[in-house]
């Protein structure tokens, strides 16, 4: 089976949880050919994974960092010149703008009519395949139609010119995916309900390719969070929130199955009106062979807490540092090893300063990025996850599979993953987190019991084989393969 695999900002160009999932999936299904379309923020990326032989093609689609999408898409000089020659104000006005206007009408409201939106996008896609993208989007006809849309909308009409220009230019960036000619496939599998999924929908419009969707986080929820932190006006925020919601609605509509990685996510899909019969939770899988209990010489002989996290605000390392203050009050020789890099310099400095302010320099050690997380988990007695937001975290599954007692904050799919095999505490409550850690550290019997049951749960319910089999069945049901 040929699989059109649609990802954004992850595999094979970036490391992380979703990339691990994608790598496991692609490797686990060696019988299928994968044609990967990777939507990235800029073209200056490297493939970070050793690709198995069933990955037949990687099409990289940078949204930013280029002046024209054609810079990084396949095509000949004659095609480039022909497309440019064909793109005139007249052709854009005659064959593109009516689709673009429908598209604008649909995305400016959060609840679009998916078939109408898809038809509009497909019309734009067909046009852009043999016309110059930049010439089209920079035409007067497109600008006029965008201004016309603003004019007709009581809220958006108050946008200032700068904001309107910025909005349309950014919209043009997102629409670059429409320049991609989807490779022929038996099934399109999107790993996010964003513009990446549009490529699968275009394939469906072209030749009926069936679509499925896996949601790790909830795309609209993540965009909302992102937009809250953006320095844009309320009206622009409304436009963008609605745009992303419309994209998600389109992805949900055309996906024959929607696979959230945990029930927590499915609540949001429910809110967005995805029919319940379409939604099937498919948990991430963990490799129980790599992540298993190991006897490893430990650098710190005393009670040790381990966290393998990216050190940023969502993982809330500050919460863990503060919690270690409470742990040290009860167990003076306890130590915490935090493995993982920080992409945020300010936050990294804040963590170091907070550690010093609380007199915890000897209690909390930042060990940096590790290539061997399976070793790191085994250097501690307890594995901690202190996040304020999660999907279905691999760090948790790996800690469980390593046979460690886990203490984690009750966010996202953590409670589902952990079940009764670990201790849950509310997020942002360091005292509660510290108390739970102390409880586990002081009770070897509890620790052993939790660790054993966690490993059993991780390798049983969330085993790699089960994960692969579930997707194999999904591909067979939707894509028609036996």
């Amino acid at each position: 089976m040929r699989v059109l695999f649609l990802v954004s900002g992850v595999y094979p160009h970036y490391m992380g949880g979703v990339s691990t999932w994608a790598d496991q999936l692609v490797r686990g299904m060696g019988e299928h050919e994968f044609h990967v379309v990777s939507v990235v923020s800029n073209p200056h990326v490297e493939v970070r994974y050793a690709l198995p032989s069933n990955v037949k093609e990687i099409i990289t689609v940078p949204l930013w960092g280029t002046e024209k999408p054609e810079e990084y898409l396949p095509g000949s000089l004659s095609e480039t010149l022909r497309n440019r020659w064909r793109t005139t104000e007249g052709t854009v006005r005659a064959d593109f703008v009516h689709h673009f206007e429908t598209f604008l009408e649909e995305v400016k409201v959060a609840t679009p009519a998916p078939p109408r939106l898809a038809e509009a996008l497909y019309g734009m896609h067909r046009f852009l395949l043999d016309h110059d993208f930049r010439g089209t989007m920079r035409s007067r006809a497109v600008w006029d139609s965008f201004r016309g849309m603003l004019d007709r909308d009581p809220l958006l009409a108050s946008m200032d010119l700068y904001e309107a220009i910025d909005t349309l230019r950014s919209l043009g960036r997102y629409l670059r995916v429409l320049n991609v000619r989807p490779p022929a496939a038996d099934i399109a599998h999107a790993a996010i309900a964003s513009v990446a999924g549009l490529i699968g929908i275009m394939a469906h419009m072209e030749d009926g390719t069936p679509n499925i969707l896996t949601e790790h986080g909830v795309y609209v929820r993540e965009r909302m969070l992102d937009l809250i932190n953006q320095p844009i006006s309320p009206r622009a925020r409304v436009f963008w929130t609605n745009f992303h919601a419309a994209l998600a609605a389109l992805n949900y509509h055309y996906a024959e199955r929607v696979y959230p990685v945990c029930t927590f996510n499915s609540r949001w899909e429910d809110r967005f009106g995805v029919p319940r019969e379409k939604v099937h939770v498919l948990y991430n899988g963990v490799d129980g062979e790599t992540f298993r209990p190991r006897e490893i010489p430990r650098p710190h002989p005393g009670p040790t807490v381990v966290a393998v996290i990216r050190i940023d605000r969502l993982k809330d390392a500050l919460n863990l540092i503060e919690a270690m203050g409470y742990v040290r009050e009860a167990i003076p020789d306890a130590k915490c090893l935090i493995y993982g890099p920080s992409p945020d310099a300010d936050y990294a400095r804040l963590c170091v300063a907070e550690r010093a302010r609380r007199g915890l320099d000897s209690a909390v050690e930042f060990c940096g990025f590790t290539q061997e997380p399976e070793v790191a988990y085994n250097l501690g007695d307890v594995v901690v996850l202190s996040s304020v937001s999660e999907g279905f975290p691999f760090a948790l599954l790996e800690g469980m599979a390593s046979g460690k007692a886990v203490v984690a904050t009750d966010v996202g799919g953590v409670a589902e993953a952990l079940g009764d095999t670990g201790l849950l505490v509310p997020p942002r409550q360091p005292r509660r987190l510290g108390e739970a850690v102390v409880r586990v550290l002081k009770d070897p019997e509890l620790r052993r019991d939790l660790g054993a049951r966690a490993r059993s749960r991780a390798t049983g319910k969330y085993g790699l084989g089960e994960f692969i089999d579930a997707y194999r069945r999904a591909y067979a049901e939707v894509g028609g393969a036996s």
Binding site: V45, E46, T80, S158, D160, I228, A345, R349
Partner: protein
């Protein structure tokens, strides 16, 4: 809801407001609640069905959405006017060197005075071809370099510079060899003179290529250092050689070659420092070791070559045609002279036209501070103008263009007027005669018009309309050749300057006509600029 539940809800609403004062709707409120750690079970404990229901409750308390809340923007640093004026002056460093060389040293890169006609011809042709062959590539490289430089993408900036050097180098070397062959056979220059012309072509060609990063990244200090060192080398060597009894022509050639060599060497050094040196961003001492700054891969993933070429055509056209236009009448003035070669360097004409063109230096400096802030002005007035009725923006752009035109016109007329009055003295100082004075005065009028075109061109380029400006130069160059040939044939060689005058008039009128169109809908021009 009981009073305690109400109090709890208000406390939650206050916390939500700290993260987002005006949540857009229920879902946005729910997102904030989840980030704060509220789960369905917490919501149920407060008497709500789930987080979404709790979000609905919170929505009833937090402030309504503030549509017209102004955005807070951080203040920006403002460059001083004096610094910008000096920057503008040094942007014309080539002309500045000529100016200083002419008036202080009695020589110029053009070898305008007291040199055998074969030397003047060889040097003149070498310089013209050096500039024409690399003008477009320099524009092209500067465009891409600044694009990647602003993205902090050093590997790709390096890649662009490497390719520019390879392609430019091939062009310069092939042209240099071709020039040698043609000069020695068709033009009939002595072999050593043909070689001299080739040497000038090569030195100037590579110098221009190496200077692309300095111009693109606005490295003014480097620009000043390069100019000062080149001038010092040129004058120093010239004086030493003359003091040592070397003939003036040989001293001029040797000192100029040395000066050009220093310019090339220092520009290559600066190119290396700005583009090629492998500099990792220095870690701040306060950055913890586990902080992993985002790094671009060292491996370069270049854009498709042909897409880049097609995109770069307007830049290549403008950069090349700029010099083709500028030298058209001069080349015409070199044909048909009385000397022994098919092309004869016309010293009196050169002195007149070059001196007039030097007026561009102070004119450019006058407009530079205004144009430097144009992008800020555009941002400011576009933020003040509604998108659906951008009259304010249209008026603002028109007012800016009017102000720019008036400033350039006033500066050009003033400088040219003074130069016109003191024409004989200025020309005499530079070694010209009465023929040069006439050429100088006519060319001054052309320079006033050309400077208006240039200011329009830079204005248009702020809207990225470089292609149209390049096309005007292309037509202008053809007009300059045609008209100056016509006048030279009918009124004498030095009448070629009338071709420059009339083609400059065309450029000024055509660019104004074009900008009148742009000024009618500058909002669209602004949108489509990037």
């Amino acid at each position: 809801m009981t009073p305690p539940e109400r109090l709890a809800l208000e406390a939650i609403a206050r916390t939500v407001s700290e993260i987002e004062p005006h949540p857009k709707d229920l879902l946005e409120t729910a997102v904030v609640l989840e980030i704060l750690g509220y789960s369905d079970s917490d919501a149920r404990a407060l008497g709500f069905r789930d987080v979404f229901d709790l979000a609905d409750g919170v929505r009833g308390i937090v402030l309504p959405y503030a549509w017209d809340e102004p955005l807070r923007e951080p203040p920006r640093a403002r460059e001083s006017g004096v610094r910008l004026y000096l920057s503008g002056l040094f942007y014309n460093v080539g002309w500045v060197i000529m100016l200083i060389a002419l008036f202080l040293g009695g020589q110029s890169l053009w070898a305008a005075r007291d040199l055998p006609v074969s030397v003047g011809t060889a040097i003149g042709l070498g310089v013209v071809l050096g500039l024409v062959s690399t003008g477009g590539l320099q524009q092209f490289a500067a465009w891409k370099l600044i694009y990647y430089h602003l993205q902090g993408n050093r590997p790709l900036a390096k890649f662009v510079m490497e390719r520019t050097l390879v392609f430019g180098g091939i062009i310069v070397v092939v042209l240099s060899a071709g020039f040698f062959a043609v000069a020695a056979t068709v033009i009939g220059l002595p072999l050593e003179m043909a070689a001299l012309g080739s040497l000038y072509l090569t030195l100037i060609g590579f110098y221009r290529l190496a200077m692309a990063p300095v111009y693109a990244m606005r490295k003014f200090v480097a620009l000043i250092v390069i100019s000062v060192l080149a001038l010092a080398a040129m004058f120093g060597i010239y004086r030493v050689l003359v003091f040592g009894g070397v003939d003036r022509p040989l001293a001029v050639i040797a000192s100029q070659v040395a000066g050009l060599g220093v310019m090339l060497g220092t520009s290559v050094a600066s190119m290396n420092a700005f583009v090629f040196a492998d500099r990792d961003e220095p870690r701040r001492p306060e950055d913890p070791p586990f902080y992993a700054a985002h790094e671009l891969p060292k491996h370069v993933n270049p854009p498709r070559f042909w897409v880049l070429v097609v995109e770069g055509v307007p830049y290549l056209l403008y950069g090349t045609m700029y010099f083709v236009f500028l030298f058209a009448d001069r080349l015409v003035s070199w044909f048909g002279g009385p000397g022994p070669f098919a092309i004869n360097y016309n010293g009196p004409y050169q002195i007149g036209v070059d001196l007039a063109l030097l007026m561009l230096v102070p004119i450019t400096a006058v407009k530079f501070p205004l144009l430097y802030r144009f992008s800020e002005v555009l941002e400011k007035i576009s933020k003040a103008a509604p998108a659906v009725g951008p009259d304010l923006f249209t008026r603002g752009v028109a007012a800016f263009h009017n102000r720019l035109t008036l400033r350039v016109a006033a500066a050009a007329v003033s400088f040219a007027g003074v130069a016109f009055l003191f024409g004989p003295e200025i020309v005499g100082f530079a070694g010209g005669d009465s023929r040069s004075v006439l050429v100088f005065r006519i060319a001054l009028v052309g320079v006033v018009l050309f400077s208006l075109y240039l200011s329009n061109a830079v204005f248009a380029m702020a809207f990225r309309r470089i292609g149209a400006m390049g096309m005007f130069l292309f037509v202008g160059a053809i007009l300059n050749y045609g008209l100056s040939a016509f006048f030279a044939a009918n009124l004498g060689t030095n009448a070629a300057v009338l071709g420059f005058l009339l083609s400059s008039f065309f450029l000024a009128v055509a660019s104004f006509a074009y900008l009148l169109g742009l000024r009618r809908s500058p909002d669209y021009a602004y949108y489509s600029a990037f």
